[in-house]
Symmetry: C2
Subunit: 477 residues, 2 copies
């Protein structure tokens, strides 16, 4: 007796990521190191996730202090914590039912926090209004993305529902789209132009879908994961015109909005660009924008707090979305609070401001250092080439693998970039993701690694990568 | 332009709960009270949710202390917190990547915690083994239930997938099943027998589904929500034989396993009963059992920590489930930790034990008091009748409404029990749920309210209910 025959075909069709295999091997290697097996390195550097704390970034004291006071309000009565922390915790607890972070909240989140999220968005977008009724807080932004896709994708439709999805793309998003029973309609980002999104390519992708599926949505990640590209206003305007013309729902994954390093790069939200384009576009284009407490400077992935803001949706659709969110009760309260703190950090004059400011500046200067060094070092290596990282959490350099290495990989039944990642892990103890998990043009090879690390970790990772690459090229050329 | 035409029909078909309307009105009334509008009560008592903290139960100090130390490890260096709390926090942090609760975890949860969950289950089930690989931690048990249903329900199947679902039933479960595109196959619990599950009724329900849909699973809630019934071993054995015969997947919602009050009632898990029945049943019946940090004595709903244990599933199916969980990253770390603390409370001799024991005993004696008083008071009221609450968080008494009240409700375009709930809220300031949201036999009427409150809250709620009911009967008979 097995449900396998009956398993939903959408779930059955989900691909297996190679990074899972690598992660398992990394765990074994760590265990071997603990058991004193000799290796050319003392520990594994894991830069395969977009997880700042895991990669060595320190949590912000202010955030952790407020959260711990919300959990254990006895701390409010002592002077262990700064006075503005205690005040903040008190205000937040007043928004929780019965003053406990252990109560369920409304399905869209604690209403006071939802209001502050909308105020943040309005400030960020230079006054373009944001409405609390259009915001839903979720256990991480990925969850919100999957839920909105769930509304858009009709798995019973024929032809099947299509979603325009970038290549390369953050792999969990691709998995979600496939898991819901939609077809991926790939559009390729232009590596040579710093991973720019080119609207002609969107046209090509739409043409290619004709007869195969019915594209209903365009998924964009800005700043990009894994590309590190930050979109220009002009490019966004072109995208908006296209989605309006083709009647596509625009899914804007903007979780890295706070992580922009390029000197000439600036994050502008799709919502703002849309509003500034004026009617009829600003009244009609349907947009979902996602943000998260996982990815900014605070990097609180484990608390699971994200939100989606919905623009120009039919009120009837909003009602369905509300119901869908209700079936999961609510987002974790501490994740909701983390979002609030991210959007309302201490201000000059607050007792917590000096430390907060020191900690965040330290993180920002570390990130600036890291992206600069990655660009320098990777581009100085033989057969490696990296576009500038303008934003986000990752570098996605291209590998020009020698013929012999490609042959060897085939012999071992692996994709060439996976073969490279396996060797890098075994020989140098650095865990990165192979480009094939994220998608890449045929016959091109890449690796992805997180740049949100401490300076020391990044320097050590680059040192290991450099000597590994030199050695690897020697062996295979 | 609107996606409404394209909205997934499963989502479109989800019903609207009347309790949403009531909750909105309750919020307005609270606002009116704040603005000093005169009412016959000073505050609204909200016993409509299964949310202990909201209803006045206090969080456990030990739990909150450990969680706050995990968030803000500086607390480990002071003696603000008891030494066993600090040790526990240290152990837990060692299981988090980079020692931060802000790191993502494995998709199924932190492996140390998953192991301790399996140890708990083994202890609970008198030694029946539990395997960490079969356990997935999720952001609340509801989420896990929906995910497992997602694997079972093939929304493209024809005939449609059916799920045997109790009447009455916790409404979010019903919404989830419908939202996934399955058909509800209702089976009625026997109110006269204290809401017993009768296996003949399951046969009747299966017969009724013939030609309409293809039932693949049986959903059981034990202890019951809203019924308060605790299943006997004998009844569970009958259920297991039936699911084996009919090749149904058994979904056992056991989130109230720690809340049993009946003198002759005892919680036994489906997993244990299945194991004790021996082969071939114990090797073949596919079972998912759900548990949660929301519902026990700790009542931490807002942290969102739950798990599912899967028994006898095909390894290939397990792989798909793993992938599905991966698409949401992971459960909130603090919810995972709360689960761990629930399963591993302080032991005699630990510095935190005396306070922990005092707090939990206080809650248990309060609950015992509440269920006793609810039974006494409700059954003493005219036209009200309540089965004994043996377990769970709710009472679900039946209302014998006078003809005139039913007429009046119809006149106002409401279901009679909704009409009753509206009046109870307006006139007495008590917020409960109408039976229609949970399901009930035609022409019977019920209300549901939470019994996990402080003694004072319960007494006040019962006082208001009593005088309201007397008044209501006067007006309408
Ligand atoms: C582009 C992008 N979107 C969404 C997410 C998910 O973040 P969250 O933790 O908010 O679910 C990630 C995580 O890596 C990401 O890179
Ligand atoms: C029977 C039942 N199952 C599951 C849940 C959901 O609990 P969680 O908070 O773990 O999602 C509830 C909540 O009320 C419930 O009553």
């Amino acid at each position: 007796m097995s449900v396998l025959q009956e398993i939903s075909p959408n779930v059955r069709n989900m691909i297996q990521l190679e990074s899972t295999v690598l992660a398992i091997r990394a765990r074994q290697i760590k265990e071997e190191l603990r058991q004193k097996v000799r290796k050319p390195y003392k520990e594994v550097i894991d830069v395969s996730w977009g997880d700042p704390h895991r990669a060595g970034v320190k949590p912000l004291s202010f955030v952790r202090q407020v959260l711990s006071a919300c959990l254990y309000p006895q701390l409010l009565n002592s002077d262990t914590l700064p006075v503005d922390v205690r005040q903040r915790a008190q205000t937040l607890l007043a928004g929780c039912d019965a003053g406990s972070v252990g109560s369920y909240t409304a399905a869209a989140g604690i209403s006071e926090i939802v209001c502050r999220v909308s105020e943040f968005i309005t400030r960020r977008d230079g006054g373009v209004p944001s409405y609390p009724e259009h915001i839903f807080i979720s256990p991480g932004s990925q969850w919100a993305l999957t839920s909105i896709l769930n509304v858009l994708v009709n798995s019973e439709a024929s032809p099947r529902t299509g979603v325009l999805t970038p290549v390369p793309c953050y792999s969990t998003a691709t998995l979600s789209i496939m898991g819901l029973g939609a077809d991926i309609v790939p559009y390729y980002l232009s590596e040579e132009q710093g991973w720019e999104l080119q609207v002609e390519e969107l046209h090509r992708a739409l043409d290619s879908a004709k007869g195969a599926c019915n594209p209903v949505a365009l998924y964009v990640i800005n700043p990009g994961n894994p590309t590190g590209h930050v979109q220009s206003r002009k490019s966004m305007q072109e995208v908006i015109r296209l989605v309006a013309e083709k009647r596509l729902f625009l899914l804007a994954d903007e979780v890295y909005q706070d992580c922009v390093y390029g000197e000439n790069s600036e994050f502008v939200s799709y919502k703002r660009v849309l509003a500034e384009m004026g009617p009829p576009l600003s009244d009609t284009v349907e947009l979902a924008s996602f943000h998260s407490a996982s990815k900014g400077i605070m990097g609180e992935c484990g608390l699971r707090g994200g939100y989606v803001e919905l623009v120009n949706l039919d009120p009837a659709v909003m009602k369905y979305i509300y119901k869908l969110f209700s079936t999961y009760s609510c987002a974790p309260v501490l994740g909701q609070i983390a979002l609030d703190l991210m959007m309302n950090p201490p201000q000059p004059g607050d007792p917590s401001y000096p430390l907060y400011s020191e900690e965040t500046q330290h993180i920002r200067s570390t990130l600036a250092h890291n992206v600069k060094r990655v660009f320098e070092v990777v581009n100085s290596l033989p057969c490696f080439c990296c576009q500038p990282v303008e934003g986000g959490a990752f570098a996605f350099p291209r590998l020009h693998l020698p013929h012999k290495a490609i042959e060897k990989a085939k012999e071992m039944g692996m994709q060439p970039d996976m073969f490279y990642c396996v060797r890098l892990l075994e020989d140098a103890g650095v865990l990165v993701s192979p480009g094939q998990d994220l998608g890449q043009k045929e016959d091109t090879y890449h690796i992805r690694f997180c740049i949100m690390t401490s300076e020391d970790t990044m320097e050590e990772a680059l040192r290991r990568l450099s000597s590994f690459q030199t050695q690897f090229m020697k062996v295979f050329s």
